[in-house]
C-alpha cells in the first residue's frame, strides 16, 4: 500500500499530462495536474527544510566529523527563517499605517532578512563561484595536455574560444583580408559554437529525450518503481 498509492498517483498524473498534450478536449485536465504539481512544489520547501534539520541535527547530536559545519548550517537556517517570518526590522505598509511590521515586506531595505542576504548570502555565494577561476587556472596548467590527436583538437578549440571571447581575438587576426573574414578568431569561435557545439548538443539532446521517454514509460507502467524507495522504512 505504501508503494501502490504513490505509484498510482504518479501513473495517473503522468498519463493525464500525456493525454492532455495530444487531445485538445483534455487540455484542462493537464492544467489541473500542473497546478497540483505547483502546490506540491511549494510544500516541498517545508519538507526540504525538515529534511535539512533532521540530517544536520543528527550529525550534531552524534558528534560526527564536521558536526560544527552542521551546527552553523542549522543556526543560519533558523536565524534566516525567523528573520523572514517575523519580518524583523520591516516598516509597516503605508496602506495599513496602524498595523505592525507584519504588513511590511520582509526583504525591503533595512530588514534583518535583507541584511543577511546583502552582507552574508551575496558575498558568500559570489566568493564560492569566483574561486572557480583559481582552480580552473591551476587545473589548466596541470592537466590540459595534448597527449593525443583528440586532446590536441580540444586544446586548439579551447584556445580559439578563450581568445574569441575577448578583444584579443579581434586584435590578433584583424589583419586578415576580408576574403578570409571567416578565419578571424572571433568568427571562428562563433562558428565553433554554431556548428560543432550545436551538432554535438543536438545529438546528446535527442539521445537524452529518447532515454527520458523510455524511462518515463517504465515508471508510468510500474516496471520501474525504484523512485519509490525500498518501502522498508
Amino acid at each position: 500500500m505504501k508503494r501502490t498509492i504513490p505509484f498510482l498517483i504518479a501513473s495517473v498524473a503522468g498519463f493525464v499530462l500525456i493525454i492532455a498534450y495530444f487531445v485538445p478536449f483534455a487540455e484542462g485536465w493537464g492544467e489541473s495536474v500542473s497546478i497540483w504539481f505547483d502546490v506540491l512544489a511549494a510544500i516541498a520547501f517545508i519538507l526540504g527544510g525538515g529534511n535539512l534539520l533532521k540530517n544536520h541535527l543528527q550529525k550534531v547530536s552524534a558528534r560526527k566529523p564536521g558536526w560544527a559545519y552542521s551546527a552553523i548550517t542549522v543556526a543560519a537556517f533558523a536565524l534566516t527563517l525567523f528573520a523572514g517570518l517575523a519580518k524583523l526590522g520591516a516598516t509597516p505598509n503605508p496602506q495599513y499605517p496602524a498595523s505592525s511590521a507584519w504588513s511590511g515586506a520582509y526583504r525591503e531595505t533595512g530588514t534583518v532578512f535583507w541584511w543577511i542576504y546583502e552582507y552574508a548570502f551575496v558575498p558568500l555565494t559570489a566568493t564560492i563561484f569566483a574561486l572557480l577561476a583559481f582552480y580552473v587556472a591551476s587545473a589548466a596548467f596541470r592537466a590540459f595536455r595534448a597527449r593525443n590527436t583528440e586532446a590536441a583538437l580540444l586544446l586548439g578549440t579551447a584556445f580559439i574560444i578563450l581568445l574569441g571571447r575577448t578583444f584579443a581575438g579581434v586584435y590578433l587576426t584583424s589583419w586578415l583580408p576580408d576574403s578570409l573574414y571567416g578565419l578571424r578568431i572571433e568568427n571562428l569561435s562563433v562558428d565553433i559554437m554554431r556548428v560543432f557545439v550545436t551538432a554535438g548538443n543536438r545529438a546528446i539532446m535527442i539521445g537524452i529525450a529518447l532515454g527520458t521517454a523510455a524511462v518515463s514509460l517504465k515508471i508510468l507502467l510500474g516496471v520501474d518503481r525504484s523512485y519509490l524507495g525500498s518501502g522498508d522504512e
Binding site: F37, D38, L163, N201
Partner: protein
C-alpha cells in the same frame, strides 16, 4: 627554467590569477566591443516593439551568477524602459526577487522616476514549481498569481487588469543561470505556441552551448556570458546613452578587461604545462 615550471607552486598560479583579474579592474581597462549577430538579434527584437507593448522579464538567477547576468539585466531593463514598454518581472528562482529589486532600484527608480508601479512595471515575485509554473500561466495567470510581490491583488493593478495569461506578452526576456530557466521557457512556453510568443535570452557561459540548438527558430537572440552582455550593452548605450553613460551602464564592458587578461593567462599556463609535458616525454625517450 623547466624545473621552475615543473615545480610551479599552486599558490603562485592563484596569485597570478588574482593579479590578472585585479590589475585591469584597478586600471579600469576598457576594450572596444564588436556586437555579434546574436546580440544584435536581441537588440532588434526589443527595438521592433512599440511603446506600451508587454514584456515579461523572467529573472532566474542568483548572486553567484550575478557577475555575468547582472549587467545584462541592467541593460535589458534600461532598453525596455527607454522604449516605454510595460515590464512584467517574475522569477522561478527563490532569490530572483532580489535580482528584480536590484534593477528596479538601480535602473527604473533612478533613471526613469516617471514610471509608475502597477502602470508601467510590476513585480510578480517568485513562484515555486519551475516548468509547472510556466505551463499554468500560459493559459491562466491568476491560477497561480493572486497578488504581486507586494501583496496587492492582481485585479487592483492597472497593467494586469486585461492580462489573463502570458501568451498576451509581446516578448519574453529570460535571464537564466540554470534550471528552471531559458531552456524551460523555450520548451514549455515558446515551442507549444510559436505564433503567440517570442523569446530572447541571456545566460551564463556554461549554459550557452546547451541553448545553441534552439537558435534561431525557437530562440532568435541569445546573450552568452559577460561577452554577450558587453556586446548588448555597447549596442544599447550607443543607441540611447551616447559615449559616456553612467558607470552602472558600462559594467559589462568593464568586466571584459579582467576576462581578457585571465583568458590570456590561462592560455599561457596551458602552453607552459604542455612545454613541461613534451620536454619530459622527449627526455624519457632518450
Amino acid at each position: 627554467m623547466l624545473s621552475i615550471l615543473r615545480n610551479l607552486d599552486r599558490r603562485l598560479i592563484f596569485l597570478m590569477m588574482l593579479l590578472a583579474v585585479a590589475v585591469p579592474i584597478l586600471l579600469q581597462s576598457r576594450f572596444p566591443e564588436k556586437p555579434s549577430g546574436l546580440a544584435q538579434a536581441v537588440f532588434d527584437e526589443i527595438e521592433a516593439l512599440q511603446p506600451g507593448d508587454r514584456v515579461l522579464l523572467a529573472f532566474d538567477f542568483d548572486p553567484a551568477s550575478e557577475g555575468e547576468l547582472g549587467p545584462m539585466a541592467t541593460s535589458l531593463t534600461y532598453h525596455c524602459a527607454q522604449k516605454e514598454l510595460r515590464l512584467y518581472f517574475m522569477a522561478l528562482w527563490p532569490v530572483g526577487p532580489q535580482m528584480i529589486s536590484n534593477v528596479i532600484q538601480d535602473v527604473i527608480r533612478r533613471d526613469f522616476p516617471h514610471m509608475v508601479y502597477g502602470e508601467d512595471y510590476v513585480d510578480l515575485g517568485f513562484k515555486s514549481g519551475g516548468e509547472g509554473v510556466i505551463k499554468v500561466i500560459l493559459t491562466d495567470l491568476r491560477q497561480l498569481y493572486t497578488t504581486d510581490a507586494r501583496g496587492t491583488p492582481l485585479n487592483r493593478i492597472p497593467m494586469l487588469e486585461d492580462v489573463t495569461d502570458i501568451r498576451q506578452m509581446d516578448l519574453i526576456v529570460s535571464l537564466s543561470a540554470g534550471t528552471p530557466g531559458t531552456k524551460e521557457w523555450v520548451q514549455y512556453a515558446v515551442t507549444p505556441y510559436p505564433h503567440d510568443l517570442r523569446i530572447v535570452a541571456g545566460c551564463t557561459g556554461i549554459q550557452a552551448p546547451l541553448l545553441y540548438p534552439y537558435i534561431p527558430q525557437q530562440l532568435p537572440g541569445l546573450l552568452g556570458a559577460i561577452k554577450g552582455a558587453a556586446e548588448y550593452e555597447e549596442l544599447v548605450m550607443q543607441a540611447y546613452a551616447g559615449e559616456d553613460p553612467p558607470a552602472r551602464y558600462a559594467e559589462a564592458r568593464r568586466r571584459m578587461g579582467p576576462q581578457l587578461v585571465a583568458h590570456v593567462l590561462m592560455i599561457l599556463l596551458i602552453i607552459a604545462g604542455n612545454v613541461v609535458y613534451f620536454t619530459e616525454q622527449k627526455r624519457g625517450r632518450r
